[in-house]
Amino acid sequence: MKTFDFAQPTTVDEALAAWEPGSAWLGGGTNLVDLMKIGAMAPDKLIDIKRLTGLDQIETLADGSTRIGAMVSNADLANNPDILRRFPMMAEALLSGASGQLRNAATVSGNLMQRTRCAYFQDANAACNKRSPAQGCDAIGGVDDTAAILGWSNQCIATNPSDFCVSLAALEAVIEVQGSSGKRDIAFADFHLLPEDTPERETALQAGELIVALRLPTEAGDFAGNSRYLKVRNRTSFAFATSSAAAAMQIKDGTITKARLALGAVAAKPWRLAKAEALLIGQAPDPALFAQAAEAALAGASSSNDNDWKIELARRTATRALALAAAGTPARMPALPASPFVDQGDSLNA
């Protein structure tokens, strides 16, 4: 690992002042330290933001929205009783990711900033436009289950690996960031960027900006009774998604009144599916309807890497996630969160 300078500010203002080109924010370190070890990232300076005051709270604001500090751990967020009750799909997504040890260390904003698991990005000997702009892309024509089927470019076919972010896209979270010129909000849909010709640019953050919190709007609580995260992976636990889906509905008198659907592991950002959602609203929950919505969801998909199979997998993942959501959120978190293989537990609506 390359040497680096180390700063440990205690306030957000001190942290922003400590930033200089080549710096990286250090949260739990579960992704960054790993990538530094293998040479995929080599910051000149780490700024430890774990001790910044005021970034570790979960609170309900006066307008009913929920504000989650950037340094809340993935485990503390997923196991918070209020979060479990109001946003069970988000908790299920969090608990389906990583391991118990990693969730204790990993932070909310670190999850948003995690890098792709594309094997060619991680391999410092492979060509990668994301790691080294204009170097080329060995993933194109290579072998990697993580490769994209939506929104990819001829410069980059890497996918965003987060589970948490798929649920945040579906729940329309808002990201609060702070920089030297002040605070601003970024809508979740605008946060992660598609590769186009600049795959090295992954988020809408400007240089030196820091994520300080996430907000879930009040409406995100409307899906508590009918929302699920489903994750297909190479092993049942402690594996990244090959395909995943966050599905959420509000059902009144047998009719879907609100619907949300987002796919994971298929693109450089969580893939929100407004057209599929529109097909569901006003209809009665029905397997044929879910299949039709999933068909619409994948209409624009194309294989980037000998991965036609992934389009079909994502379509089936979406169909099944919608059916699970319609059946109702389980009364207790499933023993294997987001797994397709187990008895999904007793429904709240049963």
Partner: protein, 165 residues
Amino acid sequence: MSLSINLTVNGAPQDITIQDARVTLLDLLRERMALPGTKKGCDRGQCGACTVLLNGKRVNSCLTLAATLNGAEVTTVEGLAKGDSLHPVQTAFIENDGFQCGYCTSGQIMSAVGLIAEGQAGDDPERIREGMSGNICRCAAYHGITKAVQEATRAMSDTHTGDVK
């Protein structure tokens, strides 16, 4: 650079000077503090052999930079037993053959202590397997590990409530 941190390891507060911010908690324990019970497996957070408790919560010490730990409390496998009296999780691993070669065992035990404290799994074997998925055992002693965690969970809960077993 030179940085001073105060770190409490297995109950003993210590002042430590760190010359290089690259040092992980794992290397600090093994190379500087003569505590080799914590093992280096993958060194990338994938195997769990390096699991310790940091402020009471299980983490991968290989991904934790020592420089970030001023004021922290760390418990390693060396800190579990009280004299000759083993921790209930250690006893349960022995009684249930929760290991074969032993390389992953200290990490498995520390992860199990953390899991039991988290209180999410209880003695449900499926929830224990899920909760322990961050610890790989290449001898595949998983059956014994799961039984050991079940037994330790019950033993610790009996102790806690004062019930006679």
